[in-house]
Point group: C2
Chain length 210, copies 2
Amino acid sequence: MALKHIAESTVRRLSDYLRFLEELEAQGQQTVSSGELASLGGTTSAQVRKDLSFFGSFGKRGLGYTVTALSRSLRQILGLERTWKVAIIGGGKIGRALAQYHGFRERGFDVVAVYDIDPARIGVSLDGVVVRDQRDLDADLTTLAVDIVLLAVPAEAAQPLVDRVTSAGIRAILNFAPVPVQASSRVAIRSVNMALELEFLAYELVNRDA
Amino acid sequence: MALKHIAESTVRRLSDYLRFLEELEAQGQQTVSSGELASLGGTTSAQVRKDLSFFGSFGKRGLGYTVTALSRSLRQILGLERTWKVAIIGGGKIGRALAQYHGFRERGFDVVAVYDIDPARIGVSLDGVVVRDQRDLDADLTTLAVDIVLLAVPAEAAQPLVDRVTSAGIRAILNFAPVPVQASSRVAIRSVNMALELEFLAYELVNRDA
DNA sequence: TGTAACTTGTGAAATCATTCACAAGCGGAA
DNA sequence: TTCCGCTTGTGAATGATTTCACAAGTTACA
Ligand SMILES: NC(=O)c1ccc[n+]([C@@H]2O[C@H](COP(=O)([O-])OP(=O)(O)OC[C@H]3O[C@@H](n4cnc5c(N)ncnc54)[C@H](O)[C@@H]3O)[C@@H](O)[C@H]2O)c1
Ligand SMILES: NC(=O)c1ccc[n+]([C@@H]2O[C@H](COP(=O)([O-])OP(=O)(O)OC[C@H]3O[C@@H](n4cnc5c(N)ncnc54)[C@H](O)[C@@H]3O)[C@@H](O)[C@H]2O)c1
C-alpha cells in the first residue's frame, strides 16, 4: 500500500480529516467533497485530494467521498482499527491531567498504567488507574504489552527513561519534557513543547505586520 | 531586521538553539560552533547557520559564536526580552496543570489570570492565581493587558471564545481543544493536539519499516 | 440520448526548505 | 609575516511539498 515515504504533514492532515468525517458521520451526512474537507481543515481541495492519493483512490468523480467509507479507510491507514495501550511515566501535574483525559480513550488509546518515583504519589488512583512505582516499569511494559509511552517527568529524567523504555522494547514515545530526546531510528518519538509554542507566539506578536 | 517572511520551522529551531545556549551559559562555556548547536538539536551545522543568517551575522569565522551574545540576540529576535502576560481560559484538568506549570514563568510568560464558567471552580487558588468568573474575561483582558490567551476548554467552547477574545483585542492564542479554530490573519493561533500526536505515533508503529 | 454541473485523480509547475560546497575571515604558532 | 586549522556566511543545487490545471468520470434531468 504505502510504498514510498509519506510526509509527516500529510499524515497529520489525515488525522484532521478523520475527525471531520466522524463529525459529519454523527450529523448523518452521506458524502463529502474534497473542498468541504478542505474548508473544515483550513487547507485546499487539491491538498486533500493529493494527501489521499498517496494511499489510493477513495472518491467518486462528480460525487465526492462516502463519509463512512473514507472514515474507515483513514482509520485503517492510521492504524486506528485497534486500540493502543499507553503508559504514562510521571504522575505529577501534567501526568495526572493526561491520565484523566477522556479524549485519549475515545480515540482508541487506553491508559493502562501510570508510574512515579515519589512514594507520596504512588498508590493514588486516577480515574481507575492506580499510580505504580517506577521500579515495576520495565517488567510491566512487557507484561501489560504497552505500545506507547508518555513521558511526563522533569527534563533531566527524560533521556534516561527513553533509554530504559526502549531497552524494554517500546517503539513509540510522546515526550512532554522540554528537552530533545534521542533514540534509535527504530523508535518513533514526538515531543510536545508548550513553552516553545508560547515563544513562537511571542515571535509572531513582535514580528507580525511589522 | 527581519524583512522577508521567515519559515515557522526556522523560528522553532531558534527557540531550541536558545535553550541550548542557556544551558551552555550555565555551564560556563564561552563559545559554540554551529556544529555543536546542530548536534544538540539533531540538525545540521548548515541548517543552524542558515537559520541565523536570516536575521544577521552573529559569529566569528574560525571561532564560532559567543554564547552570551548569541543568546541575547536570539532572545531579542524571539521577543523574549520582555515578559508576556498570559490568561488561561478553563480551569479544568489541563488548565490547572498549565496554571501551576513553572516552566512558563521561567521563560518569561506570566500567568496573570485563570477563568472558568463552573461556580465550583471559581475562587479556587492555583499557585497564587485565583480562578475568576468568565464573565469578567472581556473587561479583564484589557485591564490586565493580557498578551496571550491559552484555551483549555471543551471543544465546543473553543471557537466562541476565540471570537470573544479577539474582539477584545487579543492577537495570540494557544488552543488545547482538539478542534481547529479560526480568526483573522492578524491573530496568531497555534493548536496543541495531543490525541493527534498519538495518532501519528500509531501510524508510525504500523508503517515504520513495513 | 445529450448536456450541464460537479468532482476526482494526477502529472507538471511553482514554491518552499534543506543541504552542499567553498571563498573568506580569524587566531595561534613559528 | 606566513601558514595551518578551524569556522562562518551564503549563493547555488537539490529535495520536498504544495498548488495548478485539466482530462475523465458521475449524476441529474430534460
Ligand atoms: N505542568 C504542565 O502544564 C506542563 C506543561 C508542559 C510541560 N511540562 C513538562 O512535563 C514534565 C512534568 O511536569 P509537571 O508539571 O507534571 O511536574 P511535576 O513535578 O508535577 O511532576 C513530575 C513527576 O515526575 C515524577 N518523577 C520524577 N522522576 C521520575 C522517574 N524517574 N520515574 C517516574 N516518575 C518520576 C515526580 O515524582 C513527579 O511526580 C516536566 O518536564 C515539565 O517541563 C509540564
Ligand atoms: N486533560 C488533558 O490532559 C487534555 C489533553 C489534551 C487536550 N485537552 C483538551 O483541553 C480541553 C480541556 O480539557 P480538560 O481535560 O481540562 O477538561 P475539563 O472538563 O477538566 O476542563 C474544562 C473546563 O472548562 C470550563 N469551561 C467550559 N466552558 C467554559 C467557558 N465558556 N469559559 C470558561 N470556562 C469554561 C469547564 O467548567 C471546565 O472546568 C478539552 O478541549 C480537551 O480536549 C485536555
